[in-house]
């Protein structure tokens, strides 16, 4: 079983009751029923927001303390905690993948539409704007949705994972570099940057635990952008 159902952070802020229902109660229900039905493995889609923002230069690994700053991250922490406890007792094969900001065409996100637009608008034949709310000097941890799918497949296929928790391999990219690359791939595109600091997620990540155990080679985001632009 791969448990991905969740109310995302912005929607969770708008409707915290539903968010707790789905993100906490739903997660606990999934684990309880999976244990009862003897589901072979439960793979949980967790989030880097479980760590909180932290210091800019802090490289976080799976053994670092978790300090989520919102109900979304707290819910992920709760479900992970139960899953780990069940695994330690030998009652369930549980594994969790902590994922960064996911990019790629087709996200249908209203609040973070740039994550898809940087791919979807690359072949725009008319002038178009993309708004990214962060300053050019900020770093963000990103991963392409197709690479995330490959990581889940790896966790599903392995006979038994060594650990319960893995950071998903993500790239730390500068927002200013992202703007430069997107605009260079299509002169019709203008990427407007804001003054915000990316909050809730760390900016640097140690994902060596996943890399040591699984042979998933993520394609660099800028290479994916070039391919999507036909270059």
């Amino acid at each position: 079983m791969i448990h991905l159902a969740a109310i995302l952070p912005t929607a969770a802020q708008r409707d915290p009751v539903t968010a707790i229902e789905v993100n906490v109660k739903g997660g606990l229900t999934v684990l309880q029923e999976a244990q009862y039905r003897k589901v072979q493995r439960v793979i949980f889609g967790s989030s880097l927001s479980i760590y909180g923002t932290g210091a800019v230069d802090r490289v976080v690994s799976e053994t670092d303390p978790t300090e989520p700053e919102d109900s979304y991250g707290s819910a992920k922490k709760s479900v992970e905690g139960l899953g780990e406890a069940l695994r330690e007792r030998g009652w369930m094969d549980f594994v969790s993948l902590r994922i960064g900001r996911v990019l790629g065409a087709g996200s249908n996100s209203v609040t973070s539409s740039w994550r898809s637009e940087i791919f979807e608008l690359l072949k725009a034949e008319r002038p178009a704007e993309i708004s990214i709310p962060y300053r050019p000097s900020e770093k963000i941890l990103v991963v392409h949705v197709d690479d995330v799918a490959e990581m889940f497949l790896a966790l599903l296929s392995d006979s038994r994972t060594e650990h319960a928790i893995y950071n998903a391999p993500c790239e730390s990219i500068l927002v200013g570099d992202l703007k430069r690359v997107v605009e260079s791939l299509n002169p019709n595109l203008t990427v407007r940057l804001g003054n915000g600091r990316p909050m809730g997620n760390p900016q640097m990540l140690d994902f060596s635990r996943f890399q040591k155990e699984f042979a998933v080679e993520a394609i660099p985001i800028f290479d994916r952008l070039k391919k999507a632009a036909g270059k």
Binding site: M1, I2, H3, L4, A5, A6, E21, V22, K25, G26, G27, T29, V30, Q32, E33, A34, R37, V39, Q40, G45, I99, V102, G104, G106, S107, N108, S109, V145, D146, V148, A149, E150, F152, L153, L156
Partner: protein, 74 residues
């Protein structure tokens, strides 16, 4: 030589951004997939996968989904 039939995989949130990519990849790899999501969807049963509407926070509904999963094959 015959390979072992792949076991069924339930993907909750299967119509979400990551969920759709995961379901697509699993189907490409030959896994029987049940995709569960709160979003309204026709109960499609195509070759090798099943898409149903449901809510993980509703225990009874989720239990019935797991019963289907146990008997689901490609």
């Amino acid at each position: 030589m015959h390979s072992e039939p792949k076991k069924s995989v339930l993907v909750t949130g299967g119509r979400g951004f990551i969920g759709r990519a995961v379901v697509k990849l699993l189907r490409c790899k030959g896994y029987p997939v049940i995709s569960l999501d709160r979003s309204p969807a026709a109960a499609n049963q195509l070759q090798g996968w099943l898409e149903i509407e449901g809510d993980v926070s509703e225990g009874a509904g989720f239990r019935s989904v797991l019963k289907k999963l146990i008997g689901f094959t490609a």
